[in-house]
Symmetry: C2
Amino acid sequence: MKVGFYQFRPLFGKPKQNCHKILNALDNVDADLIVLPELALSGYYFKDKNESLKYAEDPENSHRLDALIGLAKNRNMHLVIGFAEKREEQCYNSAALIGPNGIEHIYRKAHLFNEEKFCFDQGNTPFIVNEVNGVKVGIMICFDWVFPEASRTLSMQGAEIICHPSNLVLTFCQQTMLARCIENRVFAITANRYGEDKRPQGSLKFTGKSQVVAPGGKLLHRAASQRDALFITDINPNEAHDKFITKHNDLFGDRRPEFY
Amino acid sequence: MKVGFYQFRPLFGKPKQNCHKILNALDNVDADLIVLPELALSGYYFKDKNESLKYAEDPENSHRLDALIGLAKNRNMHLVIGFAEKREEQCYNSAALIGPNGIEHIYRKAHLFNEEKFCFDQGNTPFIVNEVNGVKVGIMICFDWVFPEASRTLSMQGAEIICHPSNLVLTFCQQTMLARCIENRVFAITANRYGEDKRPQGSLKFTGKSQVVAPGGKLLHRAASQRDALFITDINPNEAHDKFITKHNDLFGDRRPEFY
């Protein structure tokens, strides 16, 4: 299965340009699954919920998401992309699994980071897995990384690949995702953005270094910090079925939930 | 609070000599809490349960544990030490919290590693915290590190310091313990052994590099791989009370257990 990420620098409040950038970058790609950053259409650093609503997409009526569905159809692939999701007066920091036939799943970020709490409603969707060409794919967004329960819940539902759209400002995540892949023996694709959102209320820099990690915590690739990066690699998702870290230790079977 | 570890190389099947080594090393120590490796009295690589029982200590009747209680009393300190615990026909891979007045708690390893499954009974004690001079201390042993639920459970019960006696043969633990201290914002003292247990059934090498990690994943010290190391540092356990990773993110308050 050919999987990867596209790391770039979304421009704040320019969804049309950001969408165009993605369409161009992935126009000739040969892949089964590409993960894009969090809030890849709108940019990140909203000042309040009115502003996030202003730049949000209504999945029922979005030229941008429709264009991405068109891309998925043309390339016969799946995308996972973070976007601001408008549902009437609600606004979620969401990620969509997009296939050739449309949006197959929307996950709404369960753990909002810092000032996101003033710009988004708290996610209300469970951590579930979806199938992409028969491979079980789970989604979590950015700050979900710090809660081991997020990747654990997805993995225990059978996720073979965790898709992880991100806009990281802290520096701990990339390393900690290795631990997530050690403890759960899954693949994880962290698609981060880079660059800076300079806004009246402040400025945020993003850390790039998008990565693909294999079960056991093996880093297959980590991108540079501050440049566009399209990376695709061929993985065998079946590797995520083997939960044995030693001959006698099945990491899931050995759990002792009666003590947790 | 002065805390630390003593890393050494226990000799297989020589509990008297190993105990003597510990007593000598800590004879003049000025500390409140010292963590020692897993199975620090017996050595590690038993061939079966009969052999582990042979070198195990019955806490009700153990010259070695009594000597360590004497040490704790003389130095007015606490020790956490891993040992093979014999209870009639049962044998556990345990760790004792020892204070000036005796054994204050025994934790029995919940997640047995590899061939330990043939040498020990599965732990049957919950993850709980004990107070040492008013500071909340939790215990987990070696391979418990790979299950995020172990350190999570201790931390959510208020553990400020996780004491982690270890005999590590894998190489992932030390780095992953940084993640445990990021996600739980606790201190963790991993006391590992070094050297090799050469036995008829095979040989195991241990990785040393004992360490003390502060909340947020800050590595305060990591020992060398293959030498004795006594390390003591002054920490402020109150730092573990602050679960805020950003101004608006309390890592425990922000959990969404309804989705885990």
